[in-house]
């Protein structure tokens, strides 16, 4: 092979995970905003903004998981036992939330119960994803290509912080999305809710960054080595610029900028994360080449992925295009 297969697969999975976090981020975040919007009318509109796309969004998580299993089985078989209970929690949360999303539209007497399942399911799934992320960032001990830590390693202050961080991130994304997709009184109230969330997001990013840099020498060396520092410096600067941009957009009631800029912050944070750990797939010691399946597996799977992933991307983009614009309560036929 003339090109580096593990790099290709790492890029595909990194891309898939980012799409997942961005897309499922805003629709999961709606579950977090639900408790603060009690009127059925508002809830209906909020759900309608994501009804045509939410299950397509989750496609990326399943695709990412399956690709990780096929291309980096060692990473898969280390990460999942290391984050055993958060993974189970995430999957159960997603199941509850997905089914509640659909069933509430068919429910009469039991609708409140399904709403509760929707909110709790969303929150659990997000928090557990944060725990997984936190565990990964902190590093997972690997001996002999196997997880070598304890059953509750994920339950660390840093893991909990990452869980909280992801809750704030997804709630902010959801606000941005809803500002873009709604209008009137509902939109006005979401503008109000988004303001403090953006500051909280900045604070969380700052704390998480400081924690990883101070706590892990490898990460600090990566970021502060000369001359790399100059290439990496734009990342935190741009994050700050985006945060102020969002605050300004909220003041000026520009309804697309908040979402776009929040997505940009997410992208920058994600890039920062990759800078911190690359070329490891499981820090501190497992890199993408050591975690790879043999070339025959990666080649075989790449053929299918090269054909089908572009089709899924085009199709998803079409869905978003068809459903562009504001969603109002009297729009027919979302359920």
């Amino acid at each position: 092979m003339s090109f580096d297969l593990p790099m290709v697969w790492a890029a595909i999975i990194a891309f898939g995970v980012f799409l997942y976090v961005l897309l499922d981020g805003f629709d999961l975040g709606i579950g977090l905003l639900f408790p603060f919007f009690d009127r059925e009318h508002d809830r209906q509109v909020m759900l309608n903004t994501v009804a045509p796309v939410w299950d397509g969004n989750e496609t990326w998580m399943v695709l990412g998981g399956a690709s990780l299993y096929a291309a980096f089985p060692v990473a898969y078989s280390v990460l999942l036992p290391a984050t055993y209970l958060p993974i189970i929690g995430m999957v159960c949360g997603l199941i509850f939330r997905g089914v509640a999303f659909e069933i509430r539209a068919k429910a009469r007497r039991s609708q409140r119960l399904w709403d509760l399942a929707f909110m709790l399911g969303s929150a659990t799934a997000i928090f557990c994803q944060g725990l997984v992320l936190g565990t990964l960032l902190q590093g997972i001990p690997v001996v002999n290509r196997q997880f070598a830590g304890g059953p509750f390693d994920w339950l660390s202050p840093f893991g909990l912080l990452a869980g909280l961080g992801l809750l704030v991130t997804y709630a902010t994304l959801a606000c941005g999305w809803l500002i873009m997709k709604t209008d009137g009184d509902l939109q006005r109230r979401i503008y109000v809710a988004m303001k403090p969330l953006v500051w909280a997001l900045l604070a969380i990013i700052a704390v998480v960054s400081a924690w990883t840099v101070l706590g892990q020498d490898a990460v600090a060396r990566r970021w502060f080595a000369m001359p790399d520092l100059f290439f990496f410096l734009p990342v935190p600067v741009l994050v700050l610029a985006c945060v102020f941009g969002i605050q300004r957009a909220i003041r000026q009631k520009r309804d697309r900028q908040p979402f776009v800029l929040t997505a940009a912050i997410l992208f920058l944070g994600y890039t920062g994360l990759i800078i911190s750990i690359f070329p490891n797939i499981i820090p501190p010691s497992l890199d993408i080449w050591a975690a790879s399946s043999p070339p025959s597996s990666q080649k075989f799977t790449l053929v299918g992925a090269a054909i089908i992933v572009p089709i899924i991307i085009v199709y998803s983009a079409m869905s978003y295009w068809v459903f562009r614009g504001k969603v109002r309560h009297d729009d027919p036929g979302y359920h």
Partner: protein
Amino acid sequence: MSIPTDQALLLARWQFAFTVSFHIIFPAISIGLASYLAVLEGLWLRTKNTVYRDLFFFWSKVFAVGFAMGVVSGVVMSYEFGTNWSGFSSIAGSVTGPLLTYEVLTAFFLEAGFLGIMLFGWHKVGPRAHFFATLMVATGTLISTFWILASNSWMHTPQGYAWQDGRIVPVDWLKIVFNPSFPYRLMHMALAAFIVAATLVAACSAWHLLRGRKDAAIRKAFSMALWLLLVVVPIQIVVGDAHGINTREYQPAKIAAIEGLWETETGGTSLNLVGWPDMDKEETRFAVKVPHLGSVILTHSWDGEIRGLKSFPKEDRPNSTIVFWSFRVMVGMGMLLLLMALAGLVLRRGGRLYEQRAFQRFVLLMAPSGLIALLAGWITTESGRQPWVVYGVLRTRDAVSAISAQQVGTSLMILILVYFAVFGTGIYYMLKLMRNGPDLPRDAAEEDASDTGKGQPRFDHRPLSRPTDPIDE
């Protein structure tokens, strides 16, 4: 690092058994119904008889719920490979991972493109385009079956691989996919899915007939399902027999366990009809034997030799008590289904099929028979593979993650609660849809009011939003 204990291993096995058993119910229903729907739509296009169209609308709702439940419950299992079975993922993942990924890609391709048109596009695309979409969905479910069965069959009869640094690496993908047991297992499973769907359609129709609803749609569905069973059940028996002969060649210990056979008998092996295989005493107690029948069934000869369990080391024997009985449950269900299909044929003379209440009650009672046979069959083949996860290559105890019994036990409890709550609701909703039945025959003026596709956004494709019947009224 915690060392997996025997309890952790046992709980992990229970967890997988529980989740996979719950899961397989839904794909089996949707694989079978997808093909049924394709047939219904083809007949509607050809004959323009509205009965077929009404049945298509009705069963597409049940299909949609089953499909959604299948997707959701399948996701859990792909994570279990990592959480509970990381030894398996890390050692054999290079072979099974790509096969699983192909299944996921197929499923998403199908879901992205054609499912939405099939479920919501009746008024939005032409009849031929719609029929094409339905055919693609039916084909897609079978392609998904293809990949999953390729992976599973490889675990039973592995080939085309090599060991490298303590890991299994793929050498020849054609050999891996088309491994010796694959054709038999694929056929057996696909036919089982058809039988599952047919028993549900027949039982649902019987229920409506018993309640006095005898309009054309109900009668047609009842008749079609019984015809299908009459054709498919005998084929399934032949395929099952061929599968058994294949298993005797490649997994002789499984066959010995299924038959409760301890000694290698010479001059013809008898068959234990019933009995209680005792793993400790190494004998089958209370056995009722038929001389030579074992040889006749498994070798198709009067005195062919079958190896007994004692010829395998103790640590290589599957649990005979379980597979002996799960196999007999499967075969028993098959025989009852054959009887049911034949009785239906007899009752067609003189049109008694739609009048004979005792028969309809029997069909209703047989509603779960397809699913019971399916589960019993899977229990037989999977338990029969033990103590191996990849037969002869990787032991189950070496495949489990380094996790504690507490972790697996906790997650098992959580999953049991979630499954009964969520998938229980799904099953309840499917039953409710079946109870409501297809729409009653309508006037020409009302024809256009059928709900499929009306008011649905153009690219909606979430299967669960297809049925609109309330769940709690």
